[in-house]
Symmetry: C2
């Protein structure tokens, strides 16, 4: 128990790369489309083609989590969907908080895609007195000072941060001390948080920078 070599994780499982987890979400999305389009089964080749991956990669990714396919047949879509949801934790529904009732925050409250994948926003927070106590887009808005109480009452484990950069770190700290375990951060800053808190950052300007880089780079090569 005492002997740790380097900083290797002590847990037994093979340790799943984050890249595998994000492809898992893409497999889930494609499988849902396949079911909608009437497919009962699919194959690693088909899934790979739809997403631009090799068939080997699809099989390898799934192999991290178990055996889900049938040699000679492929994968039963409904079955694989259920399995991936279980792995991702979205076989159950998650209660979310959102902080920041600006343009982006309000848009996210109305976003249908969250509900569809098992995420329900159950509380909004802001510090603007004009907004607190009202409902915005049907969602009850609380003062950030009440976050600890509301998070406990409503069993909130994940939160969305949609506030200006200048206050994002303070808001994140408040969420963490209220007991939130994961944060989806839309403010264009790197949050400094305890290691056991999970963070995903979405910086919209950065996404555009990836595009502009690729567009300008391609100028070098002719058509």
């Amino acid at each position: 128990m005492a002997e740790d070599k380097k900083n290797v994780d002590e847990s037994a499982e093979p340790q799943v790369p984050q890249a595998v987890v994000s492809r898992l979400s893409l497999y889930l999305r494609e499988l849902q489309h396949l079911v909608r389009d009437g497919f009962e089964t699919t194959s690693s080749t088909q899934l790979g083609r739809l997403l631009g991956f090799t068939d080997a990669q699809v099989r390898k990714d799934l192999a991290y989590f178990g055996q889900f396919g049938y040699p000679g047949i492929g994968y039963r879509c409904a079955e694989l969907i259920a399995a991936i949801k279980k792995i991702l934790g979205t076989n159950q529904s998650w209660s979310l908080a959102i902080v920041g009732m600006g343009n982006l925050g309000r848009a996210l409250i109305g976003y249908r895609g969250f509900q569809q994948q098992g995420f329900e926003i159950v509380a909004g927070f802001d510090t603007d007195p004009a907004k607190i106590g009202n409902k915005i887009e049907g969602l009850q808005v609380y003062h950030l000072d009440e976050v600890t109480q509301v998070v406990r009452e409503k069993n909130i484990r994940l939160a969305i941060v949609a506030v200006p950069s200048a206050v994002a770190q303070r808001v994140a700290d408040a969420l963490v001390s209220a007991g939130v375990e994961g944060i989806l951060n839309f403010a264009p800053v790197t949050l400094a948080l305890p290691k056991h808190i999970h963070t995903v950052g979405v910086d919209l300007a950065i996404e555009l920078e990836q595009l502009s880089f690729n567009v300008v780079s391609k100028l070098a090569k002719g058509p």
Copy 2:
């Protein structure tokens, strides 16, 4: 010239991994914060610490593009900012179109972070007659049928897709045939587009799935 081994890109340059490009955007963001906070210079160690990377990785990433540092000194922030902007193509301003004037589309029009990094939304598109011809959040809204003309007139090279999944592919096709070269897609679908068109997909539900996966996985290990 004829002899190509496998499907190796013919272009001379070392071929930059996409992961490097996204870290480049993060370096830029941190450098801008450092300048705001009064730093004249920084180092690979400092940048790495702020972002959770090793110093070696920072230097290696930058080395793809040239020599920007001073041995014994580090990097001059302003200088490195200018260099990265040039690499990413954001030393110039980009004119953007946005398609879809729903909740998310309207929020993105008002998002200050785009302007700040050199992206200006100059035209909105929709197919709802009630919206066309008006200004939304100060932005002129056109019918999607006019996209080719507007794209040409306003020199638009990048576009944001914020429409429902069901129509995202058709919208993307229209943008491409209008001459757009890069698409930031918020619809939760994989777009099938010509190889020379660049796409970045942002699926908000998938970002939350990454969080839920990590939160449930951590249950296995006790504190």
